[in-house]
């Protein structure tokens, strides 16, 4: 270790997807970092389904990759099944998704951490050390103390975690791992507001006990789309997934078991995600549906575990077994680990600023599920930003903030800190108002230069990026320079409107949605490049007309939304602001009009008043 083994610039608490990205990002900045986690062997654990990416989530993964994070590379290294979601839709909303071999994923992450020379300290952080309010380090369960200028908490579901299987409940942060209760108390003491959320996971099945002959197969894509910009080949053997579904019998069993489900008995008070419901919820809320789809996802090439995606549950074990056996192909299936629900504390992310710092304790940063999100990708994205900014804080540099019109990571964090959460937050493409401009294909073009300036993009990626950027601009230039009259295009066999307007090849890609290779086949002027580059130019051209009007609007909104609100705005009475709005302003203290606009419950009318007050601090001259 570089300096002392007790004193660091940044300490990361937690070794999940957020913690790992945070530690690596801080490390890339050159900070002296330590990662504190229960067990080194659990680093890179995928606690829920063995998959990375998907719609919206793959946008985050590509952005993490563009900022030289690890997740995309790990996902590709462990991938045993590739599938491009929304293939039939446009490139702005497509989402590559991989299924991972859990063991390969873990191994990749652990090796990556070791190679980075990152010290990992096994132990439980139970307390935050503070010096005159500022963060000074952490105390471990064994009483030892580690000092640091910044701490990133990525405790996931461990804060006061409670596991539910049927009506049996036990404390724990994950099955077989202990919960963090003392640390949770410590966080409450900071005066931030704490809420309760829940999530769940399905039972794991023994692969050998499944009748695969009765189950439909979903094969891996013939031409996989990789997660990382730097990946260029498949690493592992590829497997198929199974597709089956619940039956009327399944629903009957679930319905009969509802009284023993903690979700319905009232034992669970935390809010679960609406878009990832348990089978109990599905049966209860969509009583008219005769079947719900289940994907059977093998957990690895060597593993005998299968993850039945779609039947997350907290019913008693015996009922789970009965339910599973009512599903076609699973009549003899054996449950290896039962499904369970977990409730945990989260910090109301209104307490955070856009760099994921917690101003209540300078030097403290939070990332991942502790901020009310769900999903590996959401966690990793926050981890990267928190680790980056914790390191910059410790090194005395300014925070780096990603904007909403720049990155899905910016949307994610802005949504969290300005709107808060009412259920576990997951990324969707519809959350972005700049969807057509912020695509998975151009994440590197949008963010790698930003990351380079911030200090978190290494030499290797930067060189690869610069080469790609040059090739892209050469192709774009060649397409734009190649101009012909309608007659000339028609002579080449293209159906171009005879309106006398000379069009470039780029115009044709944009307006007629031609493929670059179709044009290249007709003329020798267009250089031959990689398919991904051509596809990126096609995507760019496809959306160009809409992106232009979008950016005009975002400038307009930007100028207005960055207006700074005067101090004491929440104390305005007689201004026409409702008490509800005043309360929210007091609680969330937005600094700009844009932040106020993003808060839940702030009406357009209230915004008008705030705008007026941001223009003149008092109405009219005395």
């Amino acid at each position: 270790m570089k300096r002392s083994d007790r004193s660091f610039d940044v300490i990361i608490v937690g070794g999940g997807h957020a913690g790992v990205e945070a530690a690596l990002a801080a490390n890339r900045l050159g900070a002296h970092v330590a990662l504190v986690t229960h067990r080194f062997a659990a680093l890179g654990e995928m606690s829920c389904n063995p998959a990375i990416g998907g719609i919206g989530k793959s946008h985050l993964v590509r952005e993490i990759d563009a900022l030289d994070g690890m997740m995309a590379a790990a996902g590709d290294a462990a991938a045993i099944h590739y599938r491009l979601l929304n293939r039939s839709k446009g490139p702005a909303v497509q989402g590559p998704r991989t299924q991972s071999d859990r063991a390969l994923y873990r191994a990749f992450v652990q090796r990556f951490i070791q190679r980075a020379g990152l010290p990992v300290i096994e132990g439980e952080a139970v307390d935050l050390l503070q010096d005159a309010g500022r963060i000074a380090g952490v105390e471990l369960a064994d009483g030892s103390r580690l000092s640091s200028r910044a701490v990133v908490l990525t405790t996931g579901t461990f804060l006061r975690g409670v596991l539910h299987v049927g009506l049996r409940r036990s404390e724990g942060g994950r099955i077989r791992d202990a919960a963090s209760v003392r640390l949770a108390d410590r966080i409450r003491d900071l005066g931030v507001s704490i809420g309760r959320l829940k999530t769940g996971t399905p039972p794991r099945l023994d692969r050998r006990s499944i009748d695969w002959g009765r189950i439909a197969r979903q094969d891996t894509d013939a031409e996989p789309v990789f997660l990382s910009f730097l990946t260029n080949r498949i690493e592992n053997a590829q497997i198929s997934c199974g597709v089956t579904g619940t039956t009327a019998g399944t629903h009957e069993i679930v319905r009969a078991g509802l009284s023993e489900s903690p979700l319905f008995s009232g034992a669970i008070t935390g809010t679960g995600p609406r878009y990832c419901p348990s089978i109990e919820d599905k049966v209860h809320r969509f009583a008219d549906r005769s079947s719900h789809q289940i994907f059977l996802e093998p957990e690895g090439l060597e593993s005998d575990l299968v993850y039945p995606n779609g039947i997350s549950t907290s019913l008693p074990e015996a009922t789970q077994q009965e339910m599973v056996r009512s599903i076609p192909g699973l009549e003899d299936a054996r449950i290896v680990t039962p499904g369970y629900a977990i409730e945990y504390d989260y910090v109301d992310p209104h307490a955070l600023s856009h760099d994921l710092a917690c101003p209540a304790a300078p030097g403290l940063f939070l990332a991942g599920q502790i901020n009310g999100t769900t999903g590996y990708e959401e966690a990793a994205a926050q981890g990267l930003v928190a680790g980056l900014n914790a390191a910059r804080f410790a090194l005395g540099r300014e925070s780096v903030i990603l904007r909403r019109d720049q990155a899905y990571i910016g949307v994610l964090i802005d949504d969290l800190v300005t709107k808060g959460v009412s259920e576990p937050y997951r990324m969707f493409t519809s959350r972005s108002e700049h969807r057509l401009a912020m695509r998975p294909d151009n994440a590197d073009q949008r963010l790698t230069p930003v990351g380079r300036d911030a200090g978190c993009v290494g030499e290797g990626r930067w060189r690869a990026f610069c080469a790609k950027r040059e090739a892209l601009s050469a192709l774009r230039d060649a397409l734009s320079r190649h101009r012909r009259s309608p007659g000339e295009w028609q002579a080449l066999g293209l159906a171009v409107r005879g309106d006398g307007v000379r069009r470039s090849a780029y115009d044709l890609v944009s307006q007629q949605r031609l493929r670059v290779r179709e044009i290249r086949a007709l003329t020798s002027d267009i250089p031959c490049t990689e398919t991904v580059l051509e596809e990126q130019i096609e995507a760019e051209a496809l959306y160009a007309p809409y992106v232009r009007s979008e950016s005009a609007r975002s400038e307009l909104a930007g100028s207005d939304m960055t207006r700074v609100l005067p101090e004491g705005i929440a104390e305005l009475t007689g201004s026409g602001l409702s008490n509800e709005v005043l309360n929210r302003l007091r609680n969330h203290r937005p600094r700009t009009l844009g932040e106020a606009a993003a808060m839940e419950g702030v009406t357009p009318a209230a915004l008008e008043i705030l705008r007026a007050h941001s223009l003149r601090s008092l109405p009219g001259p005395a």
Binding site: K89, R289, E550, G576, A605, A606
Partner: protein, 399 residues
């Protein structure tokens, strides 16, 4: 305020008070009302003074008020602006308030009141809800296409729904011309050969001698405009020079102006009489114009209406005929869009029509998002400071 009026009456009760200046000298006897927060026009705490209307009284009270700390004159439209800021009315309602204050005829009043009551706002809000619903379906097909419960492609009905909705937007937008006329007045031109009695008719309809009428052909040379309340519709009645070929330079300019005014008018009264007949068909005539036979007392003839001003016959029928013809052009909808609102409605409609032809759901969604935003601008949701300035510049002072 106590220094001016003594003790204030209890909230929302009107009471008589003697207003006094700094030295205790009485200025006026006034009715005073006090409004509490959230229970006034602007939502703020307000005191109203109902003065005797004399200019000296008002200016003296204003001077006294201006001397009080923290008080100043309201800017034009400031009270309404504050009401909008306080969320007590939306932008479309504020616009209609200006119309209501300016309303001079019954139809203007009814239209403005409908808007003030939020009819347009409700309509637009419903449309916006429908757009948001459609958007939700599209977004679901994008973000949840990997879920078995959501169809991978959006139902084909949406494109037709968008076109239908766009037609509704265009329909409301098309009311702008009637709406504008209703605000600014319809133009009805009296056209005909010299000495047909046009000026006499104008004077009769206006109820006063506006135009010089004489038995000498070519008396009227310039255009004469007068505003008339036509059974509730505001109408600018335009008297024009008699149409004839003439060597007189000034008269021939008048004739040219008459032709131009006739062409620009919403409706023409094509007049003639027994002693002043059209030679051939009037070139200015168009569908829906009214043929009026004047001087019915000296000879009968062909026309939609026969009028004798001298015997006071047919004038009411003519008024009714003008009203009926103009009213025919009124849109079926009870509310009418302003130019500003119509511009947003047109943009929203065109976004939806383009979106309906698009097959990429993310591009369709982009169009729908922008269309929803245009609808928000109709009633003034966010980013409306410029619009506000425009709207409030139409007010003179106070409300």
């Amino acid at each position: 305020m106590r220094s001016l009026a003594g003790d204030l009456p209890r909230a929302r009760y009107m009471a008589l008070r003697t207003l006094r200046d700094m030295d205790g000298e009485p200025i006026d006897q006034a009715l005073v009302v006090r409004f509490l927060e959230d229970a006034s026009f602007t939502g703020e705490r307000v005191v109203e003074l109902h003065l005797h209307g004399g200019r000296a009284t008002v200016s003296r009270v204003l001077r006294e008020l201006a001397a009080l700390p923290g008080l100043r004159m309201a800017e034009p439209g400031e009270f309404t602006r504050r009401a909008v800021h306080a969320g007590r009315m939306d932008l479309a309602q504020a616009e209609s308030l200006a119309d209501l204050i300016d309303a001079e005829t019954e139809m203007q009043r009814a239209q403005a009141l409908a808007l003030l009551n939020g009819e347009l706002s409700r309509k637009v809000a419903l449309w916006r809800e429908r757009l948001i619903e459609a958007l939700a379906t599209i977004e679901a097909s994008i973000d949840f296409s990997d879920e078995a419960d959501v169809p991978e492609t959006v139902g084909s009905g949406l494109d037709r729904a968008f076109v239908a909705l766009a037609d509704e937007f265009s329909g409301l937008s098309a009311t702008r011309s009637f709406g504008r006329s209703l605000r600014e007045g319809f133009t009805v031109a009296i056209v005909g050969p010299p000495n047909a009695g046009k000026s006499t008719l104008l004077n009769r309809m206006a109820g006063e001698d506006v135009a010089i009428s004489s038995p000498v052909p070519g008396t009227t040379r310039d255009l004469i405009r007068v505003q008339v309340d036509m059974l509730g519709l505001p109408v600018w009645l335009v008297d024009t020079a008699g149409l004839r070929d003439t060597e007189d330079q000034i008269e021939s300019i008048g004739v040219a102006r008459a032709r131009a005014a006739a062409a620009a008018a919403d409706l023409r009264l094509l007049v003639e009489s027994a002693d002043a007949r059209w030679t051939g068909e009037p070139a200015q005539a168009s569908e829906g114009d009214i043929r009026v036979w004047l001087k019915a007392d000296i000879g009968v003839g062909r026309g939609d209406v026969s009028v004798s001003v001298r015997e006071d016959k047919g004038v009411d029928q003519l008024r009714q005929a003008i009203f009926d013809r103009l009213q025919l052009r009124a849109p079926a909808s009870s509310v009418m869009a302003t130019e500003r609102q119509a511009a947003h409605l047109d943009r929203a409609a065109s976004l939806l029509r383009i979106g309906a032809f698009e097959n990429r759901p993310e591009i369709v969604a982009e169009h729908v998002r922008q269309a929803a935003r245009e609808l928000e601008l109709v009633v003034g949701a966010v980013d409306v400071e410029q619009v506000l300035d425009d709207v409030f510049s139409r007010f003179c002072i106070g409300k």
